[in-house]
C-alpha cells in the first residue's frame, strides 16, 4: 500500500525505482520452490546412514556409489522405468499432438456436418474429471486383453480435448485461408496441404500442445498405477512409489528412492529450461467464446 500512497504524491519517475519488498517477496517464492530440489541434490550424495543423522543440507560423498547401487537394483530396473517414462510421455505426447493438430485443423478450416456437435463434445471433454474414467477404462482395456501392456497406458493418453481445443485456436489464428486456397489451386491434396502448409505454420503452438501433454502423461500417476501389474512396464513414478512402499520395511531402499527421484527430474528440468519461451499459456484465449 505504501507504494500506492507515496506514488500518488511524488514525482512520476519514482514509481519505477526498485522496490525492496517486491523483490524480496519474489526471492522468497523462489527459495521456497528451490528448497526441495536443492535437498534432493544434497540427499542423493549421502549414504543410507548419513541420511538420517547428518544435517539436512550437509553433502555426503556417496553420489556415485548411490547411482551404482540404483543401477544395479534388480538388473537395472530403474533405467527401464526411465525408458518406459520416455516412451509413455514422449510417444504419447507426439501422437497426441498429431491427432490434436489434425482435428484442430479440420475444425478450423472446413465446414461439415456434425462439426459443432463434435466441437461441443470436445469442450465438454475438457471439463470431464479423470476420476470417472479410471475404472471403466481399466475394465474395457482388460476386456480386450490389453491390461498390463504398454498400450493400456499409451492409448488413453493420446486423446486430449484441451490439445484439440488449443490446436483449433492456433489453426484459426495462424493459417490464412488465402494460403490454403492458393495451395489447392496449385493442385495440392488436402493431406499435402496439412503436412506442408499448415503444420509448419502451427509449429510453435503445437510445441505448447506437446509440452502440455508430455507433462500431463509424465504426471498422471493413477492411470499406470491401475493399468500395470508387472514392474517392468512401470513408468518411473509408479516404480519409485513402489520402492518407497518397500522402504517402509527396508530403509536401505530410501537412498535408492532419493537417488532415483533426482535422476528422474533432471531430464525434465533441463527440458523446461531449454523450452521456457514456449510456456506462454493463455487458458482463457478462446474461453471468451465458450
Amino acid at each position: 500500500m505504501s507504494a500506492a500512497t507515496s506514488g500518488a504524491r511524488t514525482v512520476r519517475t519514482r514509481d519505477s525505482r526498485p522496490s525492496v519488498l517486491a523483490t524480496a517477496l519474489l526471492m522468497l517464492g523462489a527459495v521456497y520452490c528451490l528448497v526441495p530440489v536443492a535437498w534432493v541434490l544434497v540427499a542423493a550424495t549421502k549414504s543410507g546412514a548419513d541420511l538420517f543423522s547428518t544435517f539436512t543440507f550437509a553433502p555426503g560423498t556417496h553420489l556415485f556409489a548411490n547411482i551404482a547401487d540404483l543401477s544395479a537394483y534388480r538388473g537395472g530396473l530403474f533405467w527401464r522405468w526411465m525408458l518406459n517414462t520416455v516412451l509413455y510421455a514422449g510417444v504419447g505426447a507426439a501422437l497426441s499432438t498429431l491427432v490434436s493438430a489434425m482435428a484442430g485443423f479440420g475444425l478450423a478450416k472446413y465446414e461439415f456436418l456434425g462439426k459443432s456437435t463434435f466441437f461441443n463434445l470436445i469442450l465438454a471433454g475438457v471439463l470431464v474429471p479423470g476420476v470417472i474414467l479410471a475404472i471403466p477404462q481399466y475394465l474395457l482395456v482388460a476386456r480386450v486383453g490389453m491390461a498390463d501392456t504398454y498400450w493400456s497406458v499409451l492409448l488413453p493418453s493420446i486423446i486430449s480435448p484441451y490439445g484439440i481445443y488449443l490446436a483449433r485456436i492456433y489453426a484459426t489464428a495462424s493459417v490464412p485461408d488465402e494460403l490454403v486456397e492458393a495451395a489447392r489451386a496449385d493442385g495440392a491434396s488436402e493431406a499435402r496441404l496439412f503436412v506442408l502448409v499448415a503444420l509448419p505454420i502451427m509449429r510453435s503452438g503445437l510445441v505448447t500442445v506437446f509440452l502440455f501433454q508430455f507433462v500431463g502423461i509424465w504426471n498422471n500417476f493413477m492411470l499406470p498405477y491401475i493399468m500395470l501389474g508387472s514392474d517392468r512396464l512401470f513408468p518411473v513414478t509408479v516404480g519409485l512409489n513402489g520402492l518407497l512402499n518397500q522402504g517402509a520395511t527396508q530403509p536401505a531402499l530410501y537412498t535408492l528412492v532419493i537417488t532415483g527421484a533426482l535422476l528422474s527430474i533432471l531430464p525434465l528440468v533441463a527440458l523446461f529450461l531449454l523450452l521456457q519461451r514456449f510456456w506462454q499459456v493463455d487458458l482463457a484465449a478462446g474461453a471468451v467464446k465458450a
Binding site: A8, V40, T56, I132, I159, I164, A261, I265
Partner: protein, 296 residues
C-alpha cells in the same frame, strides 16, 4: 476439395474420443446401476449373477462414513489450498509484471520449476523433508532448544499434503496469469501512471480486472484437480500412519474397485464425484464467468 477430407482429419480424434472417453463414461454409468446377486451358497458357476440394482449403489456410497469423511476432508483441503495457491500465483505474476521488482527472470524460472516435477516425486521429496530425522526444521528448532512439530501427525498432515500441491501448482498458475498480464497493452495504464497512480493501485484497479477471465480458468482447473487429489496422499502413505486408504474420495474409489473388488459401488462413487465436479465447474463459469468474460 473432397467432401470426405474433414472427416479424414477428425477420424483419429473421433475414434479415440469415443473409445477412451465417451465409452468409459457410459460404461461407468451402466456399472453404477448394476450389482452382483448371489444365489444359494454362492458356490459354483452361475451362482453370482450381475443384475440391475437401481440406485442402491448410490445410496450405499453416499452413506458410507469413510466416503463422507473423505469428502469433508477434501473440502477442507480445497479451502486451504486453492485460495492460497491462486493468491500467491496472482501475487507473483503481478510482481513479475511490476516495473519495481528485480530478478524477475530468475524468480520466474525458479517458481515455475516445480511444475516439471511429477506429483509423486514432489511428494517423495517433501515426504522426506517432513520426517523429523531428515527435516531441516527439526534441526533448526532443536538448535534453538524448541520442540519440533510432527509435520505428518494427524493434526498437520492435511497441511503437509496441501503444501505439496501448493508447491507444484503455484508456478504454473503464475505463468498463466503472467501471460495474460503481458498481453495487456501498456497504453491502458500509461494514462494512470501519468496521473500519478502507483504500481499497487494500477495492479488492483486495472490489471486484476483484466486478467479475471484467466483467473476464473485457473480456478476451475484447480478445483477439478483438487477434487481428484490422489498421487500425493498415496505416495505419503508409507511415511505416516495418518493417511488412511480412504483419505480422499478418489482413494476410496480405488479401494472399493481394486481392494474390495466392488466395481459397482466404486463406479457409483466416481459418478457422484464427477457430477459434483462438473456442477462445480459449470457453477463457477456461470457465476463468475459471465461477469468476467463480459468485461472483455
Amino acid at each position: 476439395m473432397s467432401r470426405s477430407a474433414p472427416y479424414g482429419f477428425l477420424a483419429p480424434a473421433m475414434v479415440l474420443f469415443t473409445a477412451t472417453l465417451a465409452l468409459p463414461i457410459l460404461y461407468s454409468l451402466y456399472l453404477s446401476l448394476r450389482g452382483v446377486q448371489v444365489q444359494g451358497l454362492g458356490l459354483g458357476p452361475g451362482a453370482r449373477q450381475e443384475v440391475w440394482v437401481g440406485l442402491s449403489n448410490y445410496r450405499q456410497s453416499l452413506s458410507d462414513p469413510a466416503f463422507v469423511h473423505s469428502v469433508v476432508r477434501v473440502v477442507g483441503y480445497g479451502v486451504l489450498l486453492v485460495p492460497t495457491m491462486l493468491g500467491l500465483a496472482l501475487l507473483f505474476a503481478l510482481l513479475l509484471d511490476s516495473r519495481r521488482s528485480r530478478g524477475g527472470g530468475f524468480a520466474r524460472t525458479a517458481i515455475f520449476l516445480p511444475y516439471a516435477v511429477p506429483a509423486v516425486i514432489a511428494s517423495l521429496l517433501w515426504g522426506f523433508l517432513y520426517l523429523p530425522d531428515v527435516s531441516p526444521v527439526t534441526d533448526v528448532l532443536h538448535g534453538l532448544g524448541l520442540p519440533a512439530p510432527q509435520l505428518l501427525s494427524s493434526r498437520l498432515v492435511l497441511f503437509a499434503v496441501a503444501n505439496i500441491a501448493l508447491w507444484g501448482g503455484v508456478g504454473f498458475n503464475m505463468v498463466v496469469l503472467y501471460t495474460s498480464l503481458r498481453a495487456i497493452p501498456t497504453e491502458l495504464y500509461e494514462a494512470a501512471r501519468l496521473d500519478g497512480a502507483g504500481e499497487v493501485s494500477i495492479a488492483v484497479r486495472i490489471k486484476v480486472p483484466i486478467v479475471l477471465p484467466s483467473l476464473v480458468m485457473t480456478l476451475i482447473f484447480s478445483l477439478i484437480a483438487t477434487v481428484q487429489v490422489f498421487a500425493e496422499p498415496t505416495t505419503l502413505r508409507p511415511l505416516t500412519n495418518n493417511i488412511s486408504t480412504t483419505w480422499t474420495p478418489l482413494m476410496a474409489v480405488y479401494r472399493d474397485a481394486f481392494t474390495r473388488d466392488d466395481i459397482y459401488s466404486a463406479s457409483a462413487t466416481s459418478v457422484v464425484i464427477a457430477a459434483v465436479t462438473l456442477v462445480f465447474s459449470f457453477g463457477v463459469l456461470r457465476a463468475v464467468g459471465r461477469r468476467a468474460f463480459a468485461e472483455r
